[in-house]
Each structure stands twice: as C-alpha cells, then as structure tokens.
C-alpha cells in the first residue's frame, strides 16, 4: 500500500503560523490535536452535532470536525488555548464558568467557551434568551445547561458593567 498523499499547509492558529504536512482528509480538529498538539479542542461526535470541537475561524464559531485542514489555510483560527494569558491567568469568560459551576466533567467546556467567546464578541448585549438559543448548538451531559447559561450571562454582564464604569 502506498503512503497517502499529503498536502503542505500553513495554518494561522492562536496568532502563530504553523507549517504542517497532513492528509487532505485530516479534519481541522484532528490537525489541531495531533499535528499542533493543541489538545484543548475536544472531539466527540465527529459529525457536527455535539459542538465539543468548536473553535473560532476568522472570529466565527465553527465545528472543527466539519472542516478539512486545507480549508483553514488563509484563515485565522483560535482555540481554547488562546483564552488564558501566557502566565496561565484565566480569561474573564473562563473565570465566569468557574464561578458559576458552568462545568462538571469539563469535556464539553472548550467548545462552549469558544462558542461563547465568538458569540459575545459579536453580541455583547446578548440577553439570557439569546444566550440559550446559541448554547443549544452544543451538548453537555453533566450540567443541565442552566449553569452554562448563567456563566455566559455573568460574563456578558460583567463586561457591560466594566464598559459603563470606564465610560
């Protein structure tokens, strides 16, 4: 059996440029995990239903299991590893998930964090109903979702308060 053809790609992930040679069928999720060793992005259903693999592609939440790696070339990809500071300080969104018990086992959390990160950037004024609507795209088998919605709402409110105070 011959070695499958590989494609040489330059991927922009979390502000860093990476060169990888992968099979074209390699999903973005698997490329992030296996080739770039960014294992914060989790993989569960592999057909776009669960949202565990959600990352930001040019700022928009996207399922990284429903993208082949070559499709990400030329785009700016952000994973959960981009949220915390270089010294490991958690972002306000991560702190809100911690404070509101927005996770239990934590497997789905990277997907929810990136979904919320992308959504709140575009909709800083989102209300609880809008947050519920967006969160319906991802599955969590522990929390029952209420605390995830609480976490995202808390983060949004804190950001709004901070903006008001500084204005």
């Amino acid at each position: 059996m011959t070695e499958p053809d590989k494609v040489l790609l330059t991927l922009q992930v979390n502000g860093t440029s990476h060169e990888v040679a992968v099979e074209a069928r390699r999903t973005l999720a698997d490329t992030l995990r296996h080739d770039l060793e960014l294992t914060g992005t989790h993989v569960a259903c592999e057909h776009g239903v669960c949202g565990a693999c959600t990352v930001l592609v040019d700022g928009d939440p996207a399922r990284s299991c429903l993208m082949f790696a070559p499709q990400a070339e030329g785009s700016d990809v952000r994973t959960v590893e981009s949220l915390a500071g270089d010294d490991g300080t958690m972002s306000d969104l991560q702190c809100a998930f911690s404070a509101n018990h927005g996770l239990q086992c934590g497997f789905c959390t990277p997907g929810f964090l990136m979904l919320a990160e992308g959504f709140l950037a575009e909709h800083p004024d989102a209300d609880r109903e809008e947050i519920r609507e967006v969160v319906s795209s991802n599955l969590c088998r522990c929390t029952g979702y209420q605390t995830i919605v609480d976490s995202i709402q808390d983060c949004a409110e804190r950001r709004r308060d901070a903006k008001e105070t500084s204005a």
């Binding site: 299991c65 082949f68 030329g74």
Partner: protein, 284 residues
C-alpha cells in the same frame, strides 16, 4: 468516524472549477462550506475520490439587494444572509436562516451548497421554490444557464444540475412582503420533520392569491396547487381562510412514514404549520 481519503484540489476561479470537475468525472465533488458533505463523509455515506474546494472563490460570496431583485452568491454563508440588509420585501429570506442548524453551522454552510445538496427539508430549497427563484449555474467551457427553482429539485438529493455544473447565484426576482417560513423539528436545530412556507398577496385586509410550499412531505420540496387555489379564490385575511388553505394542503400531500414521524402525524403538522405561516405572513 474519520472520512475516507480523497485528492484535494483548490479552485482558482469558477471556469477552472467547472472544467476540472468535467475532467475528473463523476467521482469528483465540489466542496463549499462542507456542512452537509463532510458529515456524510465522516459517516462514510459519501466517498468522493476528488474534492474541488471552491471555498476560496470570493466572487461567489455576495448579497446584492436591488430594488426589484435580491441576488445572493452561492458561497454566501447562511450567517451572512442572516445579518445582511436584504432590501425591502425580503425579510422572509433573512428570517428563514434561523431555522438552519445552529450558529456554528450557519457560519460555514453556504446558500449554493444547500441548494445543490437538495435535502427535502432544506430552507433554501423551500425559499427558492416558494418565491420562484432562478438558480444560475456555470458549467465546463464557460457555459452558463439559468434553472427555474420549480424545475430544479427532482427527488431525494437530486437536482437538475449536470455533473460539471456549479451554482453561482440564486436570484429572487420579486419582493415578498407577506411571506413566512415555519418548521417543526424534534430538537432545536435539527432537520425539520415538516416545514411550511407561504407567500400571500395581501391588499387592504384581503387575500387575493398566494403560494404555498412544503418540505418533508416527499423526496423534494413541493408547491401545493390545491392550497394555492384556496388563496386564489381569496377572502378576508382571517383564520377561516387559512384553515381552509391548510386543510387543502394537508389533503393534497401523501407524506412518508419514517422513524421521525408517521404519515398522519406529518399531515397534521402540515395543517398546523400552514396556518401558522399564513398568520405570520399576514402580520408582516
């Protein structure tokens, strides 16, 4: 699962993409947003030997809201349409977007991909059929032609497109100020069990005609002439008229029974959803 291997090609322009697919033959597929094709490949239900990635063809990503017509490029994402200014009389198009999957699907999935995939409950197929849209396609050798949406969808995931053709844009030729789309699905974001869309001709509180389209009642999206005749006969825009229209629609269709729903259940959904769509449409 993991998708089967394929050879990846990146298209540089529309003409090149069409020529390449003609050269590679029927084992080649276009890859747009991939939100239908990649799940099918991950399930190994689809095993194309070649994928021609047209995602980089920026000239196919546009929304052109003119006074008479709305033109949407085939690589425009659902999310772009959802947040775009579509001009007067096309609110129904924007509002239909929220029924498509979830936000992270809508950021990648495309108008042309959805039309070409031709799921029997696809919102873009429903809109195109309801509003008599025209689908502009490009083929090998620089060939172009326009397909009326009413002729485009032949059956299960089957369209009038030839193997070497790709959709370049969809044109909605007339505003539809009193139109609405509604659906029922088991869970938020799921494929609809049944979807219904109406486009009413309304003047001074009376209905003087209209169009009715349904998804999920057969192999492809359909118009329902029996229900449209009720609207054509006209009358005051009230619940009685909408119920008569919905009854006609429910009697006209012979929906399939499958794991999601039985025939009679789907028929009941048709009735309820047509009434709901009429009420939403007339309230605009």
């Amino acid at each position: 699962m993991k998708p089967p291997p394929f050879t990846y090609h990146r298209a540089r322009d529309v003409a090149g993409a069409a020529d390449l697919v003609a050269e590679l033959g029927e084992d080649a597929k276009f890859l747009a947003g991939g939100q239908s094709l990649i799940p099918m490949m991950n399930f190994r239900l689809a095993r194309p030997e070649h994928l021609i990635d047209i995602g980089g063809l920026r000239e196919l990503s546009f929304v052109d809201a003119g006074p008479e017509a709305l033109r949407v490029g085939s690589l425009t994402t659902h999310r772009t349409v959802e947040t775009a200014d579509l001009g007067t009389g096309f609110d129904v198009v924007r509002e239909a977007m929220r029924w498509i999957g979830h936000l992270p699907i809508r950021t990648r999935g495309t108008v042309g991909g959805s039309l070409a995939h031709a799921d029997a409950t696809a919102e873009w197929c429903l809109l195109a059929v309801l509003l008599d849209a025209e689908i502009v396609v490009a083929g090998a050798g620089g060939r172009r032609r326009t397909i009326a949406a009413g002729d485009a969808f032949l059956g299960f995931y089957t369209t009038l497109l030839a193997d070497d053709e790709l959709i370049v844009e969809v044109v909605f030729g007339r505003p539809a100020p009193h139109a609405a789309v509604t659906e029922f699905a088991e869970r938020k974001g799921d494929f609809a069990v049944v979807s219904a869309a109406v486009d009413l001709d309304v003047g001074s509180g009376a209905v003087a005609g209209g169009r009715v389209a349904l998804g999920g009642v057969g192999p492809a999206v359909v118009r329902v002439p029996e229900a449209e005749r009720v609207l054509q006969a006209g009358g005051r825009a009230c619940r009685d008229l909408f119920e008569a229209c919905a009854d006609a629609a429910a009697q006209a269709v012979d929906p399939p029974a499958d794991g999601d729903a039985g025939t009679e259940y789907r028929r009941a959904l048709v009735r309820n959803l047509v009434i709901r769509a009429c009420e939403e449409a007339v309230a605009r």
